[in-house]
Amino acid sequence: MKPTIVICDDDQAILEMLEMVLDDGTKNIILVSNSTDIFNVLAYSRPCAVLLDLWMPILSGDQILKKLRATKEYAQLPIIVISASREGESVAREAGATAFLAKPFDISQLCETVEAYITS
């Protein structure tokens, strides 16, 4: 079975671009643009890694992170935070992110980071 990656970002252009970057046919990629859907998506998709934006309306990335980390199920799930915010990294680390990538990112670095969590 192909490994699944969930990408959550409120910006459609980012989602499409990330899908193009990561979709090499070896994995399932699920795009979530409405952050409130994330818990449902996680429940059925059982991803091996999540790419999560920080600044999203209604439910922000760090709020999602904190909720996930508070559950047994998702305490160890690799969650890579992607953000254009200056304070993004410290906010992400504090909320329990596994890794952080600043927007705009180097796609090689992005691929490497994601691959690292798929194989492990």
Binding site: D11, I14, M17, M20, V21, A84, R86
Partner: protein, 509 residues
Amino acid sequence: MDKKYLKNTNSIPISYDLIVQAIDTGINGVVITDNNLPDHPIIYCNAAFENLTGYQRSEIIGHNCRFLQGKDRQQQERKRIREAIEKGESCKVEIRNYKKNGDLFWNDLTISPLKTQDGQITHFIGIQHDISDQRALYDDLERERQKLEQRIEERTEILQNEREFADSILETIRESLLVMNADLKVISVNQHFLRTFKVSKADTENQKLYDLGNGQWDIPQLRILLEQVLPTNNPVLDFEVEHDFPHIGKKIMLLNAHRVELAGSYKNRILLAIEDITERKVIEERKDDFLTIASHELKTPLTAISGYIQIMTRNIPSDAGVQFRSALAKAEQNLSRLNSLIGELLDVSKIQSGNIKLHMEMFDFDKMMVEIVDAMRCTTTSHTITLTGDVSRTVYGDEVNLSQVVSNLISNAIKYSPNAREVGVFVGTVSDYVKVSISDTGIGISPNEQGRIFDRFYRIDQTQKKFPGMGIGLYVCNQIVKNHQGTLWVESENGKGSVFSFTIPLGKK
């Protein structure tokens, strides 16, 4: 002297012949007029009178004395003389007389009546001398006195105008002003102060600063600074007070205090200016929020574009031409430029409003330096970067901010030395400071430019076209170093390269 005349009068004894002779040769002019003859003619004059007036005796005898006044008939003194003669009294006047040649002279004239034993006035004797010199001196003095008086008047008026001018400035200025004496007791306040704090003059004047309101100015740190203003002449600058004030509520005030630099009665006074910056702070914060959101929003599509360009770069068809490859590379370069410009804008906005939050902690300075130099080495193929020295201890500071300073300085060194091959980075401790120096052998900076390169948006004219950028990198560096209580400076010579150095305190161990 006419002896016959003397014999006819009983009042002057003839034995006075000798005295008459003396009078005749005296230096004061003497005339005698006959009171019994019509128009009181002069019947005697001495040689001194002839000398005094320039007239010959023959032109004098028989005339009334008034010929001496020429046409100058309106003098008050004439009236006095007339009255004295009518009443038969003595009188002394200073009167303007004219010599035969028309020259004015001031005549100090004393007239006295000569009386018979039964009190009949027979003659008047006039003694006179020329006091023109004294009068001239007196007139000069008088003129000087008047001039002085006029000058004092003018000066007083100027002072008064200046005072009114200063007062009107004090009253119109949109800043609260307090004048205090050496004990920090309030001597005066302007209207703006009273309006701002909704207090009366009586609430404020003659009170100690620290006792005003609900003790809003009684802040230990401010006390120390204010009490140093007079002895050290160090002003208090931009001291921020956030306080819940009586009547007006929570406000942020900015304080400046200076010694009033005057001798005399204004010595040892302190002028305290208070500005309400509450609104400005709110606006600044809004501006910061706006820029933060704007930069985030700008970066989102930029991230997408950047991703697509990278995908294209990865998948360049093998038959792609030089133009295609170069266009793609340029698109990527410019995108990264756009990205750093957005970042710089945010930096400046935050630094300007003092909203850069430092995350101070002990960190491994040497490790940071190695990481930065390694990262910078990846960005350049033209220059080698050599790192020498170390700190060998942790340093207290904001690692993210400080690494921004070092990378900025290194990338400047590379950028402004296009024909050189080496950039030197030195790090070490000097006393209880860390010192970092970045040296290049590039275009250098002329002495008159050196003072200004740390200004916001300042770009050296000649570099404007050759080297892109907004000119805020060094401004940001300088502000970050300042926030660390450090200093950033440059030593440079045109055409010979530059050395940028900064020091910051090592901090607690």
